[in-house]
Symmetry: C2
């Protein structure tokens, strides 16, 4: 019945980890949900409204003191069914789009300095994310070692997806650094 609705399933999956408001989800999705999805806040509010209308999530008002009230959401039975159906559906190829690599691809024929600066910046961001993800891993597995946790832990889904995020960020960090160095050396050699 439901065809693409790309975001839905990502939101449902994120809500498996706990009750979140649109605002909280926005922060999670801005970091990249352990790097498998990105979404702007506006889209999340919209999607949550739709998901609630379809009965896949249930909203609950939380009154806070000192802060505006918020609505937090939980996955319903129907939502779980939707996720199960989605998981059984053939996966489409991962979507990756990166400005920065396009720039590097053209790096020979344009001024390299700004590209190098962007590579450095991206490397720092990746390093920061990696740290964050590694802390998340520690938090998730508690006292257990990784192997043991993966064998015996109760909920390992988030751990596994976070592992993917770690791998990705580590590679981005290293590639950016290596590439920046390479371009810098060539620029230095030519300029002087």
């Amino acid at each position: 019945m439901t065809k693409a609705m790309a975001l839905r399933h990502a939101v449902l999956a994120a809500l498996l980890d706990g009750e979140y408001s649109g605002y909280q989800l926005a922060k999670i999705f801005n970091v990249g949900v352990a790097n498998f999805w990105y979404a702007a806040p506006q889209q999340l509010y919209l999607e949550l409204t739709k998901l609630e209308a379809d009965g896949l999530v249930a909203g609950r008002e939380v009154v806070q003191r000192g802060r505006p009230s918020k609505r937090v959401f939980t996955v319903t039975e129907a939502g779980l069914d939707e996720l199960a159906a989605f998981a059984a559906t053939p996966a489409k190829p991962l979507l990756l789009r990166d400005d920065l690599v396009v720039k590097v691809h053209a790096a020979d024929l344009v001024e390299p300095a700004p590209v190098i600066a962007q590579l450095r910046e991206r490397a720092e961001e990746a390093a920061a994310k990696l740290l964050l993800f590694e802390q998340t891993l520690l938090r998730l597995r508690g006292d257990l070692g990784e192997e043991e946790f993966l064998r015996t832990g109760e909920r390992i889904g988030p751990y596994l997806s976070c592992l993917a995020g770690c791998r990705l960020e580590r590679e981005i960090r290293d590639w950016c650094r290596q590439t920046a160095r390479t371009l810098e050396e060539r620029a230095g050699g030519k300029a002087r």
Copy 2:
């Protein structure tokens, strides 16, 4: 002046490597242009038309024997300027969206078998891409060793972006395999 126009720059960058037709570009972009961008064929034809109208690429009819004629495109001076301006513009964060990781994130709460199958499949695809990319690297650097090529080679942009593709595919392959194994062992332990 030109704001996002996401695809444009990716197409321009790809055309730096040589003259290509829409059809040829479609194949390149289906693999992922060394994995930094993906685009459907239809979009490419559209984008090429626009790029030509804007004078950023120049089309040339190529009559072939035994095959339909095709139009191949080259980046113009104006196109290079556009790319240069683009490279100097701050990069937006990379966009990554993957169904499969979403499914893994929810893997505890749904039937794991189809997810495991998809992981295996994806691992094979990644392994195939990795091979392809490694061959591309060899082709690009010719007789030279990597380090020497990166220091002295004439055009290293495509090499650097291909390195990014290699890193990515290698990690995807390994993560998929590891994750499939983990889920399988748990499923096996429970089922029997």
